[in-house]
Assembly symmetry: C3
Homo-oligomer: 265 residues x 3
């Protein structure tokens, strides 16, 4: 039996009504689809954060799953839309989304086709909402059995966006900062599962010459103005200053790429 699971990952916010509109379009074409929210809380436009969440989640889904991912600063420009077969990162799974690197980990070992067939979009396509008008119908049609080739020509030069590697050095885990948000919080590529399998309180986090004791559950675990390492809302290790800016505290103009080391204390 072919599963008809379709997941949705966006930076829209679950309460915005936009994910629901995508679901309405999918269910209008494929009333039997099983819809799963992967996350709608990707920080706005942070393609690498979305990529990391998608990579981590795809591993838990069965063959046949179709993932729609919309972190899409280029919506309305000429950037292409893609359908991607997951290759060995996600055997038998398909991915739909913008050609901006979001799907690169899957394209790299798989194949990609352009979403250019106008018959497989909604009749009117809003320039600001391809999630609803292009990507959602594509996912529904794929779940109904259409093949990627029916959407358009194969794409041989997709946008590449390499996820930063997590390395292990002895007992330490070395990641890097993927994203500095508008509050100056430094968000790494380290998920909870990457960290050493120890109580969060017994970990030591080093970044920019500073060492933090323990991985906390919330900003409020430290006094105002202090640095804190915590698991952020999207599930990645984050370095923050409570009611302040970690980027400023660590004198970073742009912390992206800065290494962060986690080990047992």
């Amino acid at each position: 039996m072919s599963a008809s699971i379709i997941t949705l990952l966006t930076d829209f916010g679950a309460g915005s009504g936009y994910p629901a509109q995508m679901k309405g379009v999918i269910l209008g074409l494929h009333p039997g689809a099983t819809l799963v929210d992967l996350s709608h809380e990707v920080p706005a436009y942070r393609v690498l954060v979305g990529q990391a969440l998608l990579l981590e989640a795809a591993a838990a889904f069965p063959p046949g799953t179709i993932h729609v991912a919309v972190v899409d600063p280029g919506v309305g420009t000429s950037r292409r839309g893609l359908v991607v077969s997951g290759g060995d990162k996600a055997p038998g799974q398909l991915f739909v989304g913008p050609d901006n690197g979001l799907l690169w980990p899957f394209v790299r070992n798989g194949r990609a086709w352009e979403l250019s067939n106008p018959a497989l979009r909604r009749p009117e396509v809003a320039p600001t909402f391809h999630g609803r008008d292009v990507f959602a119908p594509a996912a529904a049609h794929l779940a109904l059995g259409l093949t990627p080739e029916q959407f358009g020509p194969e794409v041989l030069d997709p946008v590449r966006l390499q996820p930063p590697r997590v390395r292990r050095e002895g007992g330490a885990v070395v990641g890097e900062i993927v994203h500095v948000d508008t509050f100056g919080n430094l968000i790494s590529n380290l998920s909870r599962e990457d960290l050493p399998p120890t109580e969060a309180a017994a970990l030591k986090v080093s970044i920019g010459g500073r060492t933090l004791s323990g991985v906390q559950g919330t900003y409020a675990s430290v006094p105002a103005g202090s640095l804190v390492a915590l698991m952020g809302s999207a599930g990645f290790l984050e370095i923050a200053v409570r009611e302040g800016s970690a980027a400023r505290e660590l004198r970073l103009e742009d912390g992206q790429g800065m290494p962060v080391v986690v080990e047992e204390a």
Copy 2:
């Protein structure tokens, strides 16, 4: 085939457990229903915000969809409950919710019946949770094939609540403030799709004699104390002061109805 899609829109908060209780009741009556969260983050009691989200979302759903909407400051009073046929705003769709104007855009071009049949409620109705005990069972029964007429008499004098119009004047979009929240944020009736199809950074927002450059992603895009225009969490353009009150800054006692103009800079 009749779809059995039931959407839920509330101001309960997704994490509160209340939307899940509504789903439990629906699935107890109709195990095959397909449930979609439209939003549970409507600002508490803001009927016009809920109305706008519902109007926008209904357009993406297929005929046969049943929408349960609960933004209900009058729960427990004598206000009626309604089932509404969507008219030409939502052909073939049905709406269930309180008679407080939330469903007015659909009633206006459709018809409404009172939810007065006690056999179609839960045996015990909590005065504070008609969403679970009255509206959820009504939606389930409708999805199972009952007709609106089976719930009670037609309602010929429903509560009217006109959504403010979005106007276009040349290249400019003119909306108005629908809601001033308790932080003094001014929330308009302008959704992302209403705005000119330009990069958010290239837009100019005018309100109360002030002009703001760009539509930001978050309050934190400006220094503390500054005015900012941004897309709020419910998907509408919002004028705020970071860590302050836009209502106070713009010397509004109650900004509801104040015009807001968005155009390319």
Copy 3:
């Protein structure tokens, strides 16, 4: 017909991607399962808050429902996993989660078995994510018809964690503080349904020798620095100080167990 409803309750945050991973595992084993998010916003590690949400929600679900609950500070330690039959608190329902008291209200009148059969877990079990690797597959297998006995031996000494009682004294409702969060907010065991069936504005809340007028919708209903009683995001009455700490204001080191009285003003 046996319903295949599986609910999920966690403290992971809906946007973290972790609940979606649990769903991927469940749907991989049981593509026809109907998944319902009960809440993913339980405050981190607050077992009693999760227990209260679960108790309240289970009452709205039909027999046959399987609830997976993961508020699990002991993940990765030797604490057992349980499958619990709901007894008279939730007839015909089953519960899956850690043996840390979270499921105690159901165990007390029901029975519990250990999740020790390795064949019914994922092949690799991450020490930090039993929700995905142990509890999710258990729920799927139960929905597919396996019996609790197939998972392991009956547990005769489960961890007990008594939910604090809500008492009624004349027209007053007496609850207690279950949880003091890191902001100093005092979260009670009183849900909206426990409160007298009166408008929130007409209630009087007494705690620690102070009396508050009205139950508000948000912290911002009072000036900064003032005490406020409100319904918190998880659906329980909460005493807070806007932009401050109610625990400090009421000179509590740890307010857990402190009585809170609500009555009509």
